[in-house]
Symmetry: D3
Subunit: 113 residues, 6 copies
Amino acid sequence: MSDKVKKFKEERERLNAHILSRENVNIKRFFGIDSAVYRDNVLDAKTKELLGLVASVVLRCDDCISYHAIRSKENGVTDEEFDEVMSIGLVIGGSITVPHIRRAYDFWRELNN
Amino acid sequence: MSDKVKKFKEERERLNAHILSRENVNIKRFFGIDSAVYRDNVLDAKTKELLGLVASVVLRCDDCISYHAIRSKENGVTDEEFDEVMSIGLVIGGSITVPHIRRAYDFWRELNN
Amino acid sequence: MSDKVKKFKEERERLNAHILSRENVNIKRFFGIDSAVYRDNVLDAKTKELLGLVASVVLRCDDCISYHAIRSKENGVTDEEFDEVMSIGLVIGGSITVPHIRRAYDFWRELNN
Amino acid sequence: MSDKVKKFKEERERLNAHILSRENVNIKRFFGIDSAVYRDNVLDAKTKELLGLVASVVLRCDDCISYHAIRSKENGVTDEEFDEVMSIGLVIGGSITVPHIRRAYDFWRELNN
Amino acid sequence: MSDKVKKFKEERERLNAHILSRENVNIKRFFGIDSAVYRDNVLDAKTKELLGLVASVVLRCDDCISYHAIRSKENGVTDEEFDEVMSIGLVIGGSITVPHIRRAYDFWRELNN
Amino acid sequence: MSDKVKKFKEERERLNAHILSRENVNIKRFFGIDSAVYRDNVLDAKTKELLGLVASVVLRCDDCISYHAIRSKENGVTDEEFDEVMSIGLVIGGSITVPHIRRAYDFWRELNN
């Protein structure tokens, strides 16, 4: 794992741990659903990660893109599949997504190393 | 086809025809890419419609949802697969998407009739 | 209750009932949290409805505004308090919220009748 | 003026009048600035209306588009200039703006009649 | 005050001073209203800061969250009240707000130190 | 050219080159349209850059603002014209755009050095 990816994951876990330590029941329940919707079911986990990825692109959320890129990689998404998801996100979301797509490709390259 | 679906498609085609009659080259090229990205390729057309659907939910665009719902139906998406896409859109986009998800289900029911 | 308010509530309940009839566990859990966060707790229900109202204004969701307007009214929010929430939403969200604020005031007037 | 345009303007004025009748000082001041920024100054009023138009497209606000379309027409914007603003809005905002651009062209046609 | 909070405030003031030095009358008037809407009135300043905070979360603006977090702290908002505002923002805005809520909690912790 | 501007341009070009090296036909076509819409035509390039600038402000995209600021400068936009575009973006997009407008002015100042 590259340093950039490792740092992203550690920071994410550190901050999530702090939120959950607050023991707010509704936030904890939300986090539970947020894990549950991506699990293998009628649609498989890989397809669901692609859904998470394209939604993150059109909503222009770098951290969300990075997270779903990691999960996509873990679920066997290829470079060409990644390209197609990016192209759909770009057409739906427009040029305003380009800076995020730039960083998405940069992060994906880190995952490939 | 239900009257509601038929009316949606006719209005959409009427207005698209008007835009294209303007013969603006960049708008026409954009419309070309907008068709191209959803075609069968490394990812199949069905998966791509699900990507279009979830992006439309999180961006809260009723007409876009209706269009991708029609195309999803044509590509064999089942009720249960539709449910899972809606659940992911709901968790990513939050309760602000609920009014759009309500109308999405209402439109999907029309497509089932 | 005015016809407009009554119609809004009936349509909302009809469509919610249809979504819940799908029995998707994650959607149902989300609806559960969506009710829970607005309940009296450290912050009282009235304050929470004002939070829901201002968030709905800046996110420009008419149905969400109408719903939180109803709930605000039920929790004793006055016309002057409503004005102040609208003014904050307007300044944060900008003139793009004005069409929604227009409809918000129109709906609030229905609630006052 | 077509019936559709007339109705839009009357409804807009009716609702604005109601908001202003509330006499909330901050809302009134906001409405004042909202008029002031579009006045002829270093940039002329026509250019400013085009700015208002493209911002309304990318933010996907139908009422805002209609209003700036009216004002653009009053300031001498041609059909070809309108096309170019739409093409820029489309590329920046992506296909999610298409339903709004459809309605924008439909409204513009009403203004031409 | 922690270094992080201090740095945030200094940078914000430095850049605001530069904007205001431009002496653009409409921008100055906007800044005036932006202060005015949060003042004690029918709703108290504390409630208004919570409104600013939740709006900043659902609009996913880190700097706006940090600013309203500072002002919330100055107005006596407790950790548990902060939790409830975050939970409402999370449910309304969805998982796309999570990275911002993570940073919000991190900043809040700085304010507590 | 200041170091900050130079670094921005180099990073942008490096990442764009990587995206284009992927040879995805739809992404390449999109990049082509994205250049084409800003070219001198019925509206001149300067006006089009102002349109790109205001759209970037209301959509709150720092990189897009920086890019259109550079292009605006190259097309002869003055400080006072820049102020007016910012004021329109601020009024349309609301206080949520303020952090981006702060950074926009900071970047514009770099371009002036």
